[in-house]
Symmetry: C2
Amino acid sequence: MSVTDPCELPADRKRGSNFGWSLGMVLRRWHERVEELLKDLPHGSRGYHILAVVVHEEVPTQGALAARLAIDRSVLTYVIDDLANAGLIERRPDPQDRRARRVVATERGRQTLAEAERRVAHAEDHVLGGLPEEQREVFRDLAARAAEAIHAAAPATDPCVAVQSVLPPADQSG
Amino acid sequence: MSVTDPCELPADRKRGSNFGWSLGMVLRRWHERVEELLKDLPHGSRGYHILAVVVHEEVPTQGALAARLAIDRSVLTYVIDDLANAGLIERRPDPQDRRARRVVATERGRQTLAEAERRVAHAEDHVLGGLPEEQREVFRDLAARAAEAIHAAAPATDPCVAVQSVLPPADQSG
DNA sequence: ACCTATCGTTTGTCAGACAACCTATCTTCG
DNA sequence: CGAAGATAGGTTGTCTGACAAACGATAGGT
């Protein structure tokens, strides 16, 4: 908690910040593109994220996978079902713990992910087309690091937030 | 289309890009925080965005407002209803066109927005706490410019996208 | 052998996104 | 002026995705 205590800076930023709206805009467009691009991959971008983690990282179990992606366990169930039906991953019983399932990628899964990543990277450059080339990479990098920090600090505790009404006390001349 | 044609660069980016996931992560956290913060404002972040545009920009009609925010018109109907009931904005008949409604902010609405913007800016710094101070501003700025460009180029046309299967031809050794 | 916690799965509920339709009004043309 | 099509705003219904709750199976501890 040493990263410049935000309880202190009132930050009268210039008014047109719109950060939330901007993020939503970019994400929506990303989603549209990628959904279009990966419509053959079982659950589109969802399946893509999951497949990417399965291929690139050594994730012990489904539960760990859910934690890694910060998604609900119940989602994993059917997405993994369909990815497995498509022959991209396999769900093997864990020899150490018969409750758990080990999810491993097939060769076909790796090839598919590689192709999907090419396309997605391409689509991302298109989505960020409003930014000059080198700034896209900066943006991607900042997003990744911000997200990682957020994910690491999972609990949304915030002692600074005194939850009071934004509305003035209604004694206005009305 | 002079901004470095993305049809050409295959862009074998380092594997852990995860841009979509990162954006979703940051946006989700932003949303959680702001929703918590603005729970007294009629539709939370939705009402906040709308109120901000009404206050800061001269937007002729509801339809223009919807276009400005890239949201569905049907959403505006009830959000504006509730913002008006809270005394933050007013919906006046347009003297030039009796079909149209002019949405204007009240003084109370301006005060409320000012307070909300203070809090949101604060929350945003907290959400981006994983980034060093000066990079947060960079990130915000890049997001805003990317979003603006996306919004300007509304039609999602993309001649580069040849919609073919990501999956290999299934001749794998299975 | 029992009791409790955990893994994966299933089911149900709820909110938000979006399309289709409706009414009132404007515009155009005869 | 009057009819026809277009447009602004509003209403309704449908569909999807997120999430909580409950369940069966298994592990770990006593």
